[in-house]
């Protein structure tokens, strides 16, 4: 088990280094000149050269790379050339909003996806199964940005039930962050009005973000449950008189959960990445919106920072999944 885990961690570390290389390469194949951008639109040649020296862009690439890596190790993601602010500080400010959104959406996805998957596996080829199948494929096919707009239109504008955008009303003073997650912070402070407000703002974006994830958990869980329910050990459990509930919820589901977990890990990363769409639609002040507005401005230090953060999240999620695999599957513990 320890060996298995160590291998996984080493692999993740290697991937992380690869990711750093990748972002460096992307940033350096850019046809646009970052120095020109940093110097501003009206800068003359000498100012651009000055900026080039200031940002170390005149050094040879290997040296620039070395500096890039050392900076990252110190948590320094560089400076946004458009705003001049530190990307690291910006990321620290925007990341909690994204994390909160992803956690709520993932919770929704798992809490609905797994039971629906089990249900349609039990009612395989019946009307419920067909309905969930169409629903699941729809969940993957619906453009999140369009679905978000429709929900805004329906729930916010026409029904007036929920707010359309942002994390809180512009008139509400956000509390000093403890964790940075508004739902958690307001609960910790016992500020129930604020909790309610934060919850009402997160509902729509979380639904939009969770839908593809919910759909894919549902599909995998259904397929795996169908498979598991057909296994010999389920036949044996029935023959030995184990109750149907326990066969489904423990004997089969535990086996089906292994591949489902892998999908949950993958989807964690995908969700982080779809926040670029959802946050754009709902003006959610997270790293997705930050990446999009920077990308449009041609300011790619922030974009690379977001790429690294999302990649890091993806790796950690997969590492946790590997760990859970080890806990759930006794056959791995020995290996």
């Amino acid at each position: 088990m320890a060996g298995y885990l160590l291998r996984r961690i080493l692999l993740a570390g290697l991937m992380l280094f690869g990711l750093v290389c990748l972002t460096f390469v992307i940033a350096n194949v850019a046809p646009s000149d970052p120095a020109a951008l940093a110097a501003g639109p009206d800068a003359g040649r000498s100012q651009i050269e000055q900026a080039r020296r200031d940002y170390g862009l005149d050094k040879p690439l290997p040296e620039q790379f070395l500096r890039y890596v050392t900076d990252l190790l110190h948590g320094n993601f560089g400076r946004s050339v458009a705003t001049g602010r530190s990307v690291g500080t910006d990321l620290a400010r925007y990341f909690p909003a994204t994390l909160e959104l992803v956690i709520v959406a993932m919770t929704l996805g798992v809490l609905l996806g797994v039971p629906l998957g089990v249900l349609s596996a039990l009612r395989k080829d019946g009307p419920i199964d067909h309905a969930t199948r169409i629903f699941a494929v729809s969940g993957i096919a619906l453009p999140p940005f369009w679905f978000g707009l429709l929900l805004q239109l329906g729930f916010a504008t026409w029904l007036g039930l929920l707010p359309t955008s942002g994390r809180l009303s512009v008139f509400t003073e956000p509390p000093d962050p403890i964790t940075g997650l508004l739902l958690v912070d307001s609960a910790l402070r016992g500020n129930w009005a604020l909790l309610g407000e934060a919850a009402s703002y997160i509902v729509l974006p979380a639904i939009v973000l969770s839908l593809p994830c919910l759909a894919s958990i549902l599909r995998v869980n259904r397929a795996e449950m169908v498979e598991a329910l057909r296994m010999d050990y389920v036949v044996a459990a029935r023959a030995h008189g184990v109750t149907p509930w326990r066969i489904v919820m423990v004997h089969a589901l535990k086996n089906a959960m292994l591949p489902t977990l892998a999908i949950i890990g993958l989807r964690w990363g995908w969700m982080m990445s779809s926040t670029v769409l959802v946050e754009t639609v709902f003006d959610w002040p997270g790293i997705g919106l930050y990446a999009v507005s920077s990308a449009i401005a041609g300011d790619f230090k922030p974009v690379m920072g977001v790429t690294l953060i999302v990649g890091l999240n993806f790796m950690i999620a997969n590492l946790i999944v590997d760990l859970l695999y080890g806990v759930l599957d006794p056959r791995l513990r020995r290996a």
């Binding site: 296994m231 010999d232 050990y233 036949v235 044996a236 459990a237 029935r238 023959a239 030995h240 008189g241 184990v242 109750t243 149907p244 326990r246 423990v250 004997h251 535990k254 086996n255 759930l328 599957d329 006794p330 056959r331 020995r334």
Partner: protein, 328 residues
Amino acid sequence: MTALLEISDYRLAFDSFDGTAQVLDGIDLRLEAGATLGIVGETGCGKSVLARSLLGLNPAPPARVVSGAIRFRGDDILRLPERGMRRLRGRAIAMIFQDPASYLNPLLTIGTQMEDAIRGQDAAAGQSKRPRSKARALAAELLAAVGLPEPARLLDSHPHMLSGGMRQRVLIAMALAGDPALLVADEPTTALDVTVQAQVLALIARLVAERGLALMLISHDLGVVAASCARVAVMYAGTVVEEAPTQALLTNPLHPYARGLLAAVPDLDHPEHRPQGIPGSIPGLITPPPGCRFHPRCPIATERCRSEKPLPREILPGHAVACHHAAP
């Protein structure tokens, strides 16, 4: 007196894209309490399907009962609702399987699996489930009864840590949990090493004797059946072609297929007799041969065999054969 188990004219079909396969075609068998019956036949002759029918384990669809009855202590199992069937599983009829590696859940401990079975049987019987600790105590007792050392440690193990023989013992222990009257063993030794096979067969024989169990042992291996059962039924393509006391069948097989089966067994006492195969292969069951299903491979088939299905006839006392040409 009603028999413990009585199967009469049982027909089972499997529906598929290509049509309906008549997997079991009029099975008649009887088993008294405490009696032992072996069922032999080639792979695909329907013996495992028959075994699973006794516990309602054939998935329907595609399985479909066409006709007949399976009476256990007089009640027809085929007409029991799922709830009633559950009351029988483990408590009245228990089953052990071919490949113990795949019939144990890889992710659950032996203890959890046994406790679940014990408590599930309580629930099916309409009693309140006994607490896990009690179920665990019984499980440990059962593991000891099948000759497994250190039951307490075993209960906390996962199946992959056990050898094939140990796993099969665990499955046998599990089958005993509800103190059943009938044990159905479906190829219990096929997946095991030869040396372990003998141990498992001896264990089954001991348990049958000690507990007064009735045994239905299914195997493709005549030797295995001969060692454990007083009577043998030979199945071919979904029908029982011959049923007789084991000794009578071994010394005086009357059906041409049974003769062929015996001729195919290597004889260690007379190695100069080369084993003989039966020419041809088992027929497809979607469009089985008309009349006697064995006639295309039969050396003595006549016109009658091609058109008329032979019914079992008791040719010698206790020795029934389904063949137009059978004679003592």
